[in-house]
């Protein structure tokens, strides 16, 4: 699944570690989600959406 996580993170000038701390996951998890190697669960996707104040479907999309 494709996502805009890397772009959204860069817009806020956050490192992967800072985003990981905010989401309470490891930096490896953030990296894996950004590179499409791991699809987040619904609870984590909701946490990400809340953090960026955006709907889930604007961050994650399988039609990119």
């Amino acid at each position: 699944m494709n996502n805009k996580l890397k772009v959204l993170r860069a817009m806020r000038n956050w490192s992967q570690a800072e985003l990981a701390e905010r989401l309470d996951v490891s930096r490896q998890a953030v990296n894996a989600i950004e590179t499409g190697k791991h699809d987040p669960s619904l609870p984590l996707a909701f946490r990400i959406a809340r953090l960026f104040a955006m709907p889930i479907e604007e961050i994650f999309d399988d039609q990119f």
């Binding site: 993170r9 000038n13 570690a17 990981a20 309470d24 996951v25 490891s26 998890a29």
Partner: protein, 225 residues
Amino acid sequence: MTNSEATTPPAKPVRSAIGQSAVLVLLGVLLIFCIGTVLGYFAEVSKHGAVEIRDYVIGAALLLVAAVCAWQLISRTVQLVRKPREKVGPSVLKVQRLWMFFIALGLILGAAVALINLETTSGHPQDLVNTLYSSAPISPVIAAVILAALALTCIASGFYYRYIDEHDRAAQETASLVAINFYFALVMGWFVAAKGGLAPPIDHGHVFIGVFVVWTAAWLWRRYR
């Protein structure tokens, strides 16, 4: 730009945790090798007559290497522990603390194996691997220490699986799937090969080590690829 940092890359390259750990392990192995070689060398030399100056020189050189390794091991470990760490969430912090606990348990188990080696094979370094597979009886005190460490490992593992994030959990699941399939293939294949006279009887120690190595490799690949 790498995947790891999209913004503000570090000013100087930082060696990864795996790289730092690999250096520490190599230093530890070299340290044990040097000490073991000195002990074995002098045990052999003393069997065949008086110890000569040449033997002392060789022993001193090996001890010097061992001392350098020990110093590097200690200083690098202190640096690693004191290094300011990146901020992490509460669950990740708990997982990191559990890793420290597992390392401490590993040291206890390692010391116990070394004691068994001394007890069963008079500390001869080349018998260390045989110690792990030997059926020779061991001291009940050492057995109790190992059992306690194993029990603590099981309890701590329960907390570990509770606190890890979903990415680590997915890596654990992948690794478990790979390892169980490897186990089935290895045991069935070895059993049939042994029945057909193509291989020696199944060695459960080797099976255990093999499955453990495969599980670890799969976990590392899935988690850090």
